[in-house]
């Protein structure tokens, strides 16, 4: 039997076997996150809030830019404003920043972030909303002894837009 034939047989067997298992009534609702490590802290941003991720490109310095705005860059073919996510969260920036992350809330805005630490699928029950959201951090996920702050892309963008409203250099 050739390689593909063997693969097909294994798939058919697994398919048939699935019918012999008891049905599960406990399907778990989950949410997917991209986890970023910024200055030693872990932050998660929901995948459904992300419009795109791409390798960092040249950033053009923009005089009179708002705080933490690093300048302009070609973000997926658009003229995008690039913000230092670490700076926005009150942490020092680092040269490990390698990606532009776009949120669905404003595709003309990209956050400069390090490469993702990992991809995380979390049952909703493990996401603990903040009773009083502090800035852009709206919830926490516990992973053993580690806590991961959940960021709201929408709140990050609206805070930046609020700062830019009527701003005169």
């Amino acid at each position: 039997m050739d390689e593909i034939g063997g693969y097909r047989a294994r798939l058919a067997e697994a398919f048939d076997h699935a019918f012999t298992l008891p049905s599960s009534n406990t399907r778990t609702e989950t949410r997917d996150f991209l986890v970023l490590r910024l200055s030693g802290y872990l932050y998660a941003i929901a995948v459904d809030e992300i419009a795109g991720v791409q390798n960092k490109k040249a950033i053009r310095f923009l005089p009179d830019a708002p705080p933490h705005c690093l300048g302009l860059a070609n973000v997926g073919g658009r003229m995008g404003a690039v913000y230092d996510l670490a700076g926005l969260l009150g942490s020092p920036s680092s040269d490990r920043m390698a990606w532009f992350l776009q949120t669905r809330s404003d595709p003309d805005l990209a956050f400069l972030v390090p490469k993702a630490d990992r991809y995380l699928r979390v049952p909703l029950a493990r996401i603990l909303p903040n009773a009083e959201p502090d800035g852009a951090v709206i919830a926490a996920i516990t992973e053993g002894n580690t806590g991961v702050n959940v960021l709201s892309g929408e709140r990050l963008v609206s805070a930046i837009r609020e700062r830019c409203r009527g701003r005169v250099p």
Binding site: K57, R60, L62, D64, L72, R78, A81, C164
Partner: protein, 644 residues
């Protein structure tokens, strides 16, 4: 189906009203057009009946009656009838505008579809064209990115893959690169074509200008002819659209203020019919609209008197510029056309917004000429690539008068900065270096770029010139804020952004800086002292207050920046070693911000090395005092040097 009919009727009715209006305006020159006009009215009535638009049926019927009467009698339309017919055309337009979304069941008249009578052309909303053009430029930029990514595929060979696979991948990459190149080229061609499609023929404005002249003549009881030349000259719809209103104002003004009544003209040896002429001509990347009348000309003495009555100082060499001041009018009374003094200032505001210029020439008794010069497009343009420090910026080429290599014979340093001696004038040289590239080492400026702006000539210094390039200017994203001197940004050949400078803003900023200098020379000065040491703050405060200065204190650079942005200071005294932002970075921030960059900064620090002093000078400090050598008299002497 009903919606479709209504939509087509909207398009057809708009075309027919345009043809009716043009035909009526030209009637006196072409009375044989009567049958054609009758046909237009008849077609309009038929269409309106199909969609049950009874108001338009009645209006078209009324027009038809007038045309039919003269057709049968073989007589001509009278002036009075022409006026009434034009009013009926206006009424049809009002119906079309007012009921288009209701009775006709149309969501938006602007979202047009092909006319059923002429499927060779389509009407497209300008904003839809903008979206399409933006999409093409975006795709072009993505194709550039793809090409660049493919060039780096060679790195894969170093990642340990087999030589055969690497060779195959290299071959694929070569083919893909060729395709990406072709795609980029095709998109670039498409972008250029799209830019051409977005251009409108200037003659689109002619009919309404003729109508404006006709209406104004009828209202004032004058006899005036209107002629236009330059149809075929094309410009961006975003430029032509606002300009139409400004031009209408100028022709109405020419009739109301310029052209004399027939009897007066005859007395003065002129033809009883006055003339208003419009000439449109292309001048490089700009277009000139020249509105000329053969009327009485502008009475400068009356303009000066009107300005004086409003308490305005006469400016400009001859005071002609005063006619653009709000509220200045020489009309004897207020009419529907003129006399409120709220026109030419609005015309100038429109022209300035379009990055254009307006000039007026007039000869008493002979007439006036207004010349508006605007760019062909606000987004597609040719730009001069300029190097300032390590940055490259773009300047609209049509605003560049010249570039000059600086030398001791053509530039001088005055107390208020460096100036360029150019065409018998001393132009202040705007230095953008610390604003654009605050951390780079500053070299002696080598080149001056002289600009034509809406406020006259201005100049800035540059380190290098790198040729010219066709660009498409994009607005800055909302979250980038407003950058004072930046018009927008464009992508370079590698797909990276480059800033496009705004010549008008550079000129205005230069003038503001000079005004600030002039004002601060006579104002009492406040000093901001920045030091994290309470003792030093108190010491410096007591010395300065003892010498009669007002003093504010800040314990860190961030607090100081906040205070400096909120208040007016004549001088800043700062420490260097402070927690958070140090004194060097603080000075860089001061030099970067337009509001603060003119404020002298004195550094007072315990760092006494030559290197520290040099770094202080490099970031833009005005003076450097070492704490170990600090003495009250020396400190005050330096302060007085900078504050007077």
């Amino acid at each position: 189906m009903k919606d479709e009919s209504a939509r087509y009727f909207q398009l057809e009715a708009r075309e027919l009203t345009g043809q009716l209006e043009a035909g009526l305006l030209a009637y006196e020159k072409r009375p044989e057009a009567l049958l054609e006009l009758f046909r237009f009215a008849h077609t309009l009535k038929g269409g309106a009946r199909v969609v049950n638009h009874h108001a338009i049926v009645d209006l078209a019927h009324a027009m038809e009656d007038v045309f039919a009467h003269h057709r049968e009698a073989g007589t001509h339309l009278t002036k009075q009838e022409l006026m009434e017919l034009l009013s009926l055309v206006d009424a049809v337009r009002s119906e079309l505008n007012g009921e288009s979304a209701g009775a006709l069941g149309i969501a938006s008249p602007e979202h047009a579809a092909p006319s059923p009578r002429d499927l060779a052309t389509v009407r497209v909303d300008l904003s839809d064209m903008d979206v399409l053009a933006g999409g093409i430029h975006e795709a072009e930029s993505l194709a550039t990115g793809l090409r660049l990514e493919l060039r780096t595929q060679g790195e894969l060979q170093e990642a340990g893959i087999s030589a055969e696979l690497a060779q195959r991948m290299a071959e694929k990459a070569r083919r893909l690169t060729t395709l990406a190149d072709s795609l980029e080229l095709a998109l670039r061609r498409l972008g250029r074509k799209m830019n051409v499609l977005r251009l409108f023929d200037a003659s689109l404005a002619f009919a309404e200008l003729e109508r404006a002249t006709y209406d104004a003549a009828a209202l004032t009881g004058k006899s005036v002819s209107f002629t236009a030349r330059g149809g075929g000259v094309k410009l961006d719809g975003h430029v032509l659209s606002p300009l139409r209103g400004a031009l209408q104002h100028l022709v109405r003004n020419a009739v109301a203020h310029g052209i004399e009544h027939g009897a007066v003209r005859t007395e003065r040896g002129k033809s009883a019919t006055g003339r208003v002429q419009l000439l449109v001509e292309r001048r490089g990347a700009r277009i000139a609209f020249v509105v000329k009348d053969d009327g009485a000309g502008i009475d400068l003495a009356a303009v000066r008197q009107a300005a004086a009555q409003r308490g305005l100082a006469v400016n400009g060499a001859d005071g002609m510029d005063m006619i653009f001041q709000p509220g200045v009018s020489t009309a004897n009374g207020v009419s529907a056309l003129a006399g409120r003094g709220v026109g030419l200032d609005a015309v100038r505001a429109v022209v300035r917004k379009l990055k254009g210029t307006i000039e007026v020439r007039s000869e008493l008794g002979s007439g006036s000429t207004f010349e508006i010069v605007v760019p062909v497009s606000l987004s597609a343009m040719r730009a001069l690539v300029v190097g300032i420090g390590s940055q490259r910026v773009l300047v609209p080429l049509d605003r560049v008068v010249s570039t000059v290599r600086l030398s001791q014979t053509n530039s001088a340093v005055r107390s208020d900065g460096r100036v360029l001696l150019h065409d018998d004038a001393a132009l202040p040289l705007h230095d953008l270096h610390s604003w654009l590239d605050p951390r780079a080492e500053r070299n002696e400026p080598r080149i001056a770029v002289v600009l034509e702006t809406s406020q006259g000539r201005a100049a800035f210094v540059a380190d290098a010139l790198a040729g010219t390039r066709d660009i498409t200017v994009r607005s800055l994203p909302y979250c980038a804020g407003d950058s004072a001197l930046v018009l927008g940004a464009a992508f370079d050949a590698q797909g990276d952004p480059e800033l496009v400078l705004d010549p008008d803003a550079i000129s205005a900023s230069s003038r503001r800086a000079m005004q600030v200098d002039a004002v601060t020379l006579v104002k009492p000065r406040r000093i901001l002292v920045v030091d994290d040491s309470l003792t030093t703050r108190m010491l410096e405060q007591s010395i300065l207050e003892g010498a009669g200065y007002e003093v504010d204190l800040a314990s860190c650079a961030h607090e100081a920046l906040e205070k400096a942005m909120q208040n007016e200071y004549g001088l800043i005294v700062t420490d260097i070693e402070m927690p958070g932002m140090n004194g060097y970075d603080f000075t860089v921030e001061i030099r970067r911000r337009p509001k603060l960059r003119a404020i002298p900064v004195i550094m007072v620090s315990s760092l006494g090395s030559e290197e520290s002093r040099k770094r202080g000078a490099d970031v833009g400090s005005s003076a450097y005092i070492v704490k170990g050598e600090f003495d009250q008299d020396g400190f005050l002497r330096v302060v007085r040097e900078w504050l007077g």
